[in-house]
């Protein structure tokens, strides 16, 4: 007889549906095939001119109807696609019957929209005066999803029939993991039997790229594009901006069992810790990341030696990869050398608000399939980072438990522990 509650007496939370969109394609099948083949989704940017830009590559999703229309439109479309795949797999129709948690980028008008507004304005005015006067004349719901932070999730709530006031969360690069954690907590509180957690980010505009470039965060190794994202390598020089989405249907084990749903994995534990060191750099001793990892393990009721594989944050920045290595070495000690640690970002780039959710989804598939996707572009290993990064080629290996890390700009760190089977 299966135990429906965990060692703390809380409902066990499982995953019954998964959906993914990345630059590698739409859906789990295409993504899994590409990831296990070590294929990169990074390519030269065609969405906007790259004159004057030092970084001219990205993992943008260019093959959807709203690609390049506006960040919010693309974020919305990808969230919906992933949500449909996940709820479809879970066998849930249009009445989800539980809350919705969305991780998404902050919204703002795009430049093409500002130009549109400006053109409508009067020649006698300039700057924001002209924009404001023009804005007054446009229909009430124009640019709704680009100016109201709560609009995209409102429409997704309609689409999926979720309950209550939907939440849009942002913890920078940890957002996707935060959305999942919010869902887990709601189920554990008994507020609902199920929750829909989606992470989506379609915000790769020129301004977004320039903002990160001004902070020296991006790789400038544009040629060849597929080689630029090289986590844990000696010549890594920054992350590659990317887009994508993932959705997880989270359910109590009890409810999933009662309706005969197929269980795809267990969301065993979630942990967080904020960093107070700096707005973009993490504390050099790694203590917040260490604390987040330990908090996730403690929440899962598991010891370090129970982790089979780490799905790294692995952004390919000089600093993150070093700090992540230090943190993992501290938590796992000597054993770290024999735990595979790979970074999906080597292939799909950094999908920002979606990353934590996409990487959780890939972690679950890793356990289901018994195959670990590689860290590609590992041609010049960093001698100071002594990790088994599953270099370049996938590995067939039974994996029963995964630690997935997400360490965000602004110091928000979130880690998830997932297992293959309920106990």
């Amino acid at each position: 007889m299966r135990r429906m509650t965990d060692s703390f007496g809380r409902p066990v939370v499982v995953v019954t549906g998964i959906g993914i969109v990345t630059s590698l394609g739409v859906g789990k099948d295409d993504n899994w095939a590409a990831l296990t083949a070590g294929k990169s989704g990074i390519h030269p940017i065609t969405r906007f001119p790259t004159d004057h830009l030092n970084t001219r590559i990205a993992g943008t999703v260019d093959f959807l109807a709203s690609s390049g229309r506006s960040a919010s439109a693309l974020t919305h479309e990808m969230a919906e696609l992933a949500g449909r795949e996940a709820t479809g797999q879970a066998g849930i129709g249009g009445d989800f019957g539980g809350p919705l948690f969305l991780a998404a980028p902050p919204v703002e008008l795009g430049w093409n929209q500002r130009f549109e507004l400006y053109a409508r304005g009067s020649a006698g005015q300039q700057g924001y005066d002209r924009l404001l006067a023009a804005a007054h004349g446009v229909p009430g719901e124009s640019y709704e999803e680009d100016t109201q932070f709560g609009a995209v999730v409102d429409r997704l709530a309609d689409t999926f029939g979720t309950r209550g006031l939907p939440i849009t969360t942002s913890t920078a690069c940890a957002s996707g993991a935060t959305a999942i954690q919010l869902g887990v907590e709601a189920i554990r509180r008994g507020e609902s039997d199920r929750a829909l957690a989606i992470g989506a980010d379609g915000s790769a505009t020129a301004e977004a790229l320039i903002r990160f470039a001004l902070l020296s965060a991006l790789s400038t190794q544009n040629d060849p594009p597929q080689k630029a994202s090289k986590p844990f390598s000696k010549d890594r020089d920054g992350f590659v901006l990317a887009e994508g989405s993932a959705a997880l249907v989270l359910e109590s084990l009890e409810a999933a069992t009662a309706r005969g749903a197929r269980i795809l994995g267990v969301m065993a534990g979630c942990g967080e810790k904020a960093d107070d060191f700096h707005r973009t750099r993490s504390k050099p001793d790694g203590s917040p990341a260490i604390a987040a990892v330990r908090a996730a393990l403690a929440d899962a009721g598991m010891a370090e030696d129970a982790i089979d594989y780490v799905n790294a944050h692995g952004t390919s920045t000089p600093e993150n990869d070093k700090m992540e290595h230090l943190s993992l070495s501290t938590v796992f000690g000597e054993r770290i050398r024999s735990i595979p640690v790979s970074s999906n970002k080597s292939m799909i780039g950094h999908t920002l608000s979606a990353a934590g959710a996409i990487e959780a989804a890939i972690s679950l598939m890793t356990m289901q399939e018994g195959v670990i996707p590689p860290t590609i572009n590992h041609d010049n290993p960093d001698p100071a980072i002594d990790l088994d990064v599953v270099p370049n080629v996938r590995r067939e290996r039974a994996v029963a438990s995964v630690l997935s890390n997400s360490f965000g700009f602004g110091g928000q760190n979130a880690c998830l522990v997932m297992t293959r089977e309920p106990v």
């Binding site: 906007f48 001119p49 004159d51 004057h52 830009l53 998404a104 902050p106 008008l109 430049w111 500002r114 130009f115 400006y118 300039q126 700057g127 924001y128 002209r130 924009l131 404001l132 804005a135 007054h136 446009v138 009430g140 709704e144 100016t147 109201q148 932070f149 709560g150 999730v153 409102d154 209550g164 006031l165 939440i167 849009t168 969360t169 942002s170 913890t171 920078a172 919010l182 907590e185 554990r188 509180r189 507020e191 020129a206 301004e207 320039i210 903002r211 990160f212 470039a213 001004l214 902070l215 967080e272 904020a274 960093d275 107070d276 700096h278 707005r279 700009f409 602004g410 110091g411 928000q412």
Partner: protein
């Protein structure tokens, strides 16, 4: 009474009325409460501006101040006030384990750079290249950090050393509701013992006015109190700059620190009403019933937005709830900070047993706050929330 009751033990509150619980209590209980308005700087829009603030009293390092624009300064400042008020400032053990939920929009754009690009765009047909040229050379590199929604929480962690969990919610008034709702739920369920929750909004920047005006939401007529704007020109919202941060603790945790606090806050009801054909009126009524708000005085975060405000008037009137204060008549609409601000005012009023003269005699009668107050927030475009704040 339960050890997991959620108690408000610290309040940091800033608006055009001033800073702190005492200043706001004075403003609200003054015989003829008056708003502070600025109808010049952003004409034709009227705003409720912030007073002069000595940021350094809460943000000591100039380096920290320089990294932020007004919105993040305001939030970080109010967060510091709340921690001081709760007697937690500088207590490392407490702040390192303190959870945080911030409701946030975004930070200020560089209006001068934007203006230059817009003007230049009129004479160029290679606008994509123009954007690259200007943004790569004229943007301050750290401005992005002053704009990022989750960096208000980030700054609070850095400046005030609050480093438990940190979550940011985005979504206008609804995000403020969800922030407090989730904090209270976590305390009730024993998932958290002490949290810092709140929001800030700076309206004194043209891009933040643009965010309202693209929806046609701003009031464009002579100033009038919130309930009196039906039929006037524009959309009804007069915005303000302000912030409210609360320290919420479990009763057990507050007792262990010997703090009585201001008030308890009950389970928050929230929702996403179908707003057509009377749906909103009904939904507001259901929400009031869900929190046991019948017969109570009300502190309302009504925005002035025509349809939403009319629905709230109808719902309150229909339930015989006549003792109502729309505080935004005095402070302006504070977007993400609306619900936290309303809860803060309710807690202050309950603590002091305040008598509040009408802010607007067309809809409000003089009101005495006793042991329980209903707090309502109807988002101007979407989402609603309510809670009862009661004597601790």
């Amino acid at each position: 009474m339960n050890q997991h009751d959620a108690i408000i033990t610290g309040i940091g509150i800033v608006s055009s009325l001033g800073e702190g619980p005492a200043a706001h209590l004075s403003a609200l209980t003054a015989p003829q409460p008056r708003p502070v308005l600025d109808a010049e700087r952003f004409a034709p829009y009227t705003v409720h501006p912030l007073p002069e603030i000595d940021w350094s009293s809460q943000i000591a390092k100039r380096g920290d101040l320089r990294q932020m624009e007004a919105w993040q300064r305001l939030g970080t400042y109010a967060a510091g006030l709340a921690l001081d008020d709760a007697g937690m400032k500088g207590d490392e053990a407490l702040s390192a384990t303190m959870d945080m939920v911030v409701a946030a929009g975004g930070g200020e754009r560089d209006a001068a750079v934007d203006g230059a690009i817009l003007e230049a765009s009129l004479a160029r047909n290679d606008r994509g290249v123009l954007i690259n040229e200007k943004l790569t050379t004229e943007l301050r590199p750290t401005l992005f950090l002053a704009q990022l929604s989750n960096l208000l929480a980030g700054n609070i962690s850095i400046v005030h050393k609050v480093t438990g969990s940190s979550r940011t919610f985005m979504g206008e008034e609804g995000a403020g509701v969800s922030a407090i709702e989730t904090a209270v739920a976590r305390v009730h369920a024993g998932q958290s013992s002490h949290l810092l929750v709140g929001a800030a909004f700076n309206t004194e920047h043209p891009d933040h006015l643009l965010g309202f005006e693209v929806g046609g939401a701003l009031h464009r007529d002579a100033w009038a109190p919130v309930w009196a704007r039906q039929g006037m020109r524009g959309g009804g919202i007069v915005s303000g700059s302000g912030a409210a941060f609360l320290v919420i603790e479990s009763r057990e945790h507050a007792a262990s620190r010997d703090r009585n606090g201001y008030a308890a806050i009950g389970k928050v009801a929230s929702g996403r009403a179908r707003r057509g054909s009377g749906g909103l009126v009904a939904a507001i009524g259901t929400m009031i019933d869900a929190v046991g708000g019948s017969g109570l005085p009300v502190i309302s975060a009504a925005s002035g937005a025509h349809a939403a405000t009319a629905a709230e008037m109808s719902a309150l009137g229909g339930r015989g709830l006549r003792d109502v204060r729309a505080f935004s008549s005095l402070t302006g609409h504070l977007k993400e900070a609306q619900f936290p601000f309303a809860v803060a005012l309710a807690a202050i009023a309950v603590r002091h047993g305040a008598t509040l003269p009408s802010f607007d005699t067309t809809f409000e009668a003089p009101m005495r706050v006793g042991e329980r107050v209903l707090v309502t927030t109807v988002g101007s475009r979407r989402y609603e929330g309510a809670a009862v704040v009661s004597a601790a």
